[in-house]
């Protein structure tokens, strides 16, 4: 079986690629497109390090076929900052030391952004449950949760 031709949008840019029918979006992003910001921690949807959005819906890219991207819009960590201007969450994570080794950080940021787009004023509990699919082994989540809540507060003020 020949490879599939897929036309999609990645981080706002039109993109075409060829993929194997069984190839995951994560493998495609990392291997073919060189977008290595999405990480593989498990390959089974249990760690969230490969989080992306598919038509603005948060998903694990390891649990999605690349072929399914046809006609859709995908956003990865590489598209989160606008040029040199970091997204407020990225900036807050730096200021509040909400990362240690950083391997979970791209997935956590994508997930947190998706939360704040739906719920600009989440409670601590809402943040914790929304991020329950993003494992972090370094931080104990404390600074991550604080950074998300603080960013939400600042974004509400400036909105």
């Amino acid at each position: 079986m020949a490879k599939l031709h897929v036309s999609t949008t990645i981080n706002g840019e039109p993109m075409e690629f060829l993929c194997e029918p069984h190839e995951s979006m994560l493998d495609l992003l990392r291997g073919v497109l060189g977008l290595t910001g999405s990480k593989e921690g498990c390959g089974s949807g249990d760690c969230g390090a490969c989080s992306i959005t598919l038509d603005d819906r948060l998903v694990c890219s390891c649990l999605m076929l690349a072929a399914e991207a046809e006609g859709k819009s995908i956003a990865t960590i590489e598209g989160m900052a606008q040029g040199e201007r970091l997204h407020p969450l990225q900036q807050k994570f730096l200021e509040m030391a909400a990362l240690q080794c950083g391997i979970c950080t791209p997935g956590v940021l994508i997930a947190a952004k998706s939360l704040l787009e739906r719920n600009p004023d989440p409670t601590e509990s809402e943040v914790r449950y929304w991020l329950a699919g993003n494992l972090c082994r370094c931080t104990g989540y404390d600074k991550i949760v604080r950074a998300v809540l603080e960013t939400a507060a600042e974004m509400r003020e400036s909105a």
Partner: protein
């Protein structure tokens, strides 16, 4: 220590590697590819214990796309009768862990490896390797492994003159425990069990190795020490270290689990044989089955105290699982167990026990949480028996300056008492508790380490500074080093760039482990910066045509030392740097040192839990850690260490464990069923940093990374007791086990 008005030390600066990590640019080991690269895959034993009769790779080699095959014959052989040590690792065991030789010793043990043009072909080729096994009886559990009739893993290991699975014994003694117990009013003796737990780093092991036709190899990998990678790979493959360049990728978590090699020597031989760069990445399942974890344990601890709460004797017997090859952290268990206390009579014994599990690797204060768990739980019972507050009991017996510890040292200035006093005074300790809620406390100690470290501090021509050190940064050490450098040179921290060098670009530096990194690297960076400042003063002196002795360095500027030195406007580092080539050439200095004077770390934790009596679920409601952190050079990352350790401890105490089926196969090799705490499982993790500077360090640094995992097991266990009125002597306190105890089943 006269750094009272620090500008950068103690400030929460943005980490130098931060922007790359929040934008996805940071390059971890599996993010690197090379032209012509092929993929390596490992064939692993499907048996827990089997003699390898033959390995036939001919069918695999014939598969189109297969470029190279490796078996144990391709690795350097280390005869069983001769130890070859590299640090604490014995290459006899390391080589057999990387590739099984005589026997497959655990399910998942590497038997052979294949490199092929795609990962799928490599995996397919692994299935074509024909291995003839003679299946042997296996033993998984510690209590089974030490029985006289247990299947023996290694015929050459003897204990008490007989073949045994007990591979080693270590004992610490102070005073006379029998005499101590004879003088005790209260004696409590209890036995405990803990299960093996994995470090749980999110980034699987991976590497990329290229070997050129002249035999020189480059290794990109994720490890806690590029020099460890170079040395171990050299030993296991027979290459001289000078032919191996090990480049540290960003590391996605280690916690001790990346202090040894698994893939690098295999990938190197595959690369050498195929003439192609070879990439190997473990799956999560492979990580669980064949890397880490730390030991499971059985222990018995006996403590005696007088009526007034003075502990007069302590004894701890610890059996630790090593996995299939010797080397469990009995030193940490036996050495740290009673180390927080001033006890005249102490005896601790550790036994290293092999069984058919993956070989253990270091995990954050290796052995110490196991040691402390038993001691701190028994102390809770002693306090109860004496009707004493458990923190007051600890305060009364706390080690302080001058205390002689059973494992050897006499403590210099330490802040253990301060952690207990801070806990006693903290609002958490007095906060009301609800129904089915309980509060527990526990303390802990970790040795901390110094050791070899190298640094190079270079002033750039445009007046900025580049610092290179040799320890991979797992938790923000670059941020702390930037603070130290900025403070010493008197420049803005943004002018300081901090890099981790590879084995060819920086001098030997020991592992990122033992909570050594900031202690050791701040020391060599300080000495390097002092040399740079000396040079800067000399250059200013040269420009001013005065004696270098007459120049001082303040706030990032060279200034005449006084009126007698002459009247010159101050020169900044940038101004001096601009004239460097005219005044003597490039400005920079490096120092390489075997650093000494790392002093122990102490912590006290308070934990509140709530128990669902019908379901047996334990939830942590509130957690506060008090720790002597020496000097918090970058407080946010010190807090991060304290929080991360507490979280790992909560997982260890409540939900994490290795489970095996009857065939000796790990039954929960995934993040789904190996239950590390998720975000919604935890409360905020409060931290109280207590700064008692280490007198033997220029900035007062003490290691902070490991001791946070020492107290939690007992703190949580004690909290569950106070919620339920029933003691637990085994971890994890998972819901079925909690109900078993509650229902008396």
């Amino acid at each position: 220590m006269n750094v009272i008005n620090n500008k950068w030390i103690g400030s929460r600066t943005i980490r130098p590697d931060g922007a790359d990590k929040v934008t996805g640019r940071a390059s971890y080991s599996s993010d690197t590819n090379m032209p012509g690269m092929i993929w390596g895959k490992v064939l692993r034993s499907p048996h827990a214990h089997a003699r390898i009769v033959s390995v036939d790779t001919s069918k695999a080699e014939a598969l189109p796309g297969v470029k190279a095959v490796v078996t144990s014959k391709d690795l350097v052989e280390f005869p069983l009768d001769t130890a070859v040590m590299l640090g604490i690792q014995d290459m006899r065991w390391m080589s057999r862990n990387v590739m099984a030789r005589e026997k497959a010793l655990f399910h998942g043990h590497p038997i052979a490896a294949i490199a092929a043009t795609t990962e799928a072909i490599a995996a397919e080729a692994c299935r074509l390797i024909v291995v003839e096994y003679e299946i042997l009886p296996h033993v998984i559990e510690l209590e089974e492994a030490i029985k006289p009739d247990a299947p023996i893993l290694h015929d050459f290991i003897q204990f008490d003159g007989k073949p045994s699975n007990i591979a080693g014994k270590l004992e610490h003694k102070l005073g006379d425990v029998d005499a101590g117990f004879a003088g005790a009013d209260v004696i409590i003796e209890r036995s405990f069990k803990t299960r093996p737990v994995h470090q749980g780093y999110l980034e699987p092991h991976s590497c990329l190795v290229s070997v050129s036709s002249d035999g020189k190899a480059v290794i990109w990998s994720s490890s806690q020490g590029q020099f460890m990678v170079r040395a171990m790979t050299g030993l296991l493959t027979g290459l001289p270290q000078s032919d191996i360049r090990a480049i540290p990728a960003e590391i996605g978590g280690g916690f001790g689990g990346k202090t040894i090699v698994y893939l690098e020597p295999v990938a190197l031989i595959l690369a050498k044989k195929s003439g192609r760069p070879v990439k190997m990445v473990m799956t999560r399942e492979e990580v669980f089955r064949a890397s880490g974890p730390t030991s499971g344990s059985m222990s018995t601890v006996k403590i005696g105290a007088t009526k007034d709460g003075k502990i007069v004797a302590g004894q701890g017997i610890y059996y630790l699982q090593a996995g299939a090859l010797p080397g469990s952290p009995i030193r940490g268990a036996a050495g740290c167990a009673f180390a927080p206390y001033d006890i005249p009579n102490v005896q601790t014994v550790g036994f290293d026990v092999v069984s058919n599990r993956s070989k253990v690797a270091a995990y954050r204060a290796p052995g110490a949480p196991i040691g402390a768990y038993a001691v701190e739980c028994v102390l809770d019972e002693i306090a109860e028996a004496l009707k004493m507050d458990p923190l007051e009991l600890r305060l009364k017996n706390a080690a302080k300056q001058g205390t002689k510890a059973a494992h050897g040292p006499v403590y210099p200035v330490i802040g253990f008492v301060d952690t207990i006093e801070a806990a006693l005074a903290h609002p958490h300790y007095k906060a009301p508790l609800g129904k089915h809620q309980g509060r527990g406390v526990a303390s802990g100690f970790w040795f901390n380490a110094g050791g070899e470290s190298s640094a190079q501090v270079n002033v750039t021509e445009d007046g900025n500074v580049v610092v290179t050190t040799g320890h991979p940064d797992v938790g923000g050490s670059r941020a702390a080093i930037a603070n130290v450098t900025a403070e010493l040179l008197g420049i803005d921290h943004k002018k300081v760039s901090v890099l981790i060098g590879d084995t060819a670009t920086i001098g030997y530096s020991n592992l990122t482990g033992g909570s050594r990194v900031l202690f050791a690297s701040a020391m060599v960076v300080t000495q390097s910066a002092d040399k740079v400042i000396t040079t800067l003063k000399e250059r200013a002196a040269k420009i001013w045509k005065i004696d270098p002795e007459a120049v001082t360095w303040e706030d990032g500027e060279a200034r005449p030392a006084g009126a007698n030195a002459g009247q010159f406007p101050p020169m900044t580092l940038a101004q001096i740097a601009a004239k460097a080539s005219e005044t003597g050439g490039p400005i920079g200095a490096g120092v390489q040192l075997n650093t000494q004077g790392a002093e122990g770390g102490f912590a006290t934790h308070i934990c509140d839990v709530e128990v669902d009596l019908d379901l047996g679920i334990v939830r942590v409601l509130r957690y506060t850690s008090f720790q002597d952190v020496g000097r918090a050079v970058h407080p946010a990352y010190v807090e991060g260490q304290m929080q991360g350790g507490a979280a790992q401890g909560i997982g260890w105490a409540l939900s994490e464990e290795y489970l095996y089926d009857k065939n000796g196969k790990m039954d929960n090799a995934s993040f789904l069923d190996y239950r590390m705490p998720v975000c919604s499982d935890l409360p905020m993790l409060d931290t109280v940093m207590i700064e008692v500077p280490n007198p033997k360090h220029p900035q007062g640094v003490r290691g902070v990374g490991e001791v946070p995992l020492v107290p939690p097991l007992a703190a949580i266990s004690n909290a569950v007791y106070h919620a339920l009125g029933k003691r637990f002597y085994s971890l994890p306190m998972s819901p079925p086990r909690v109900l078993e105890v509650l229902d008396g089943v």
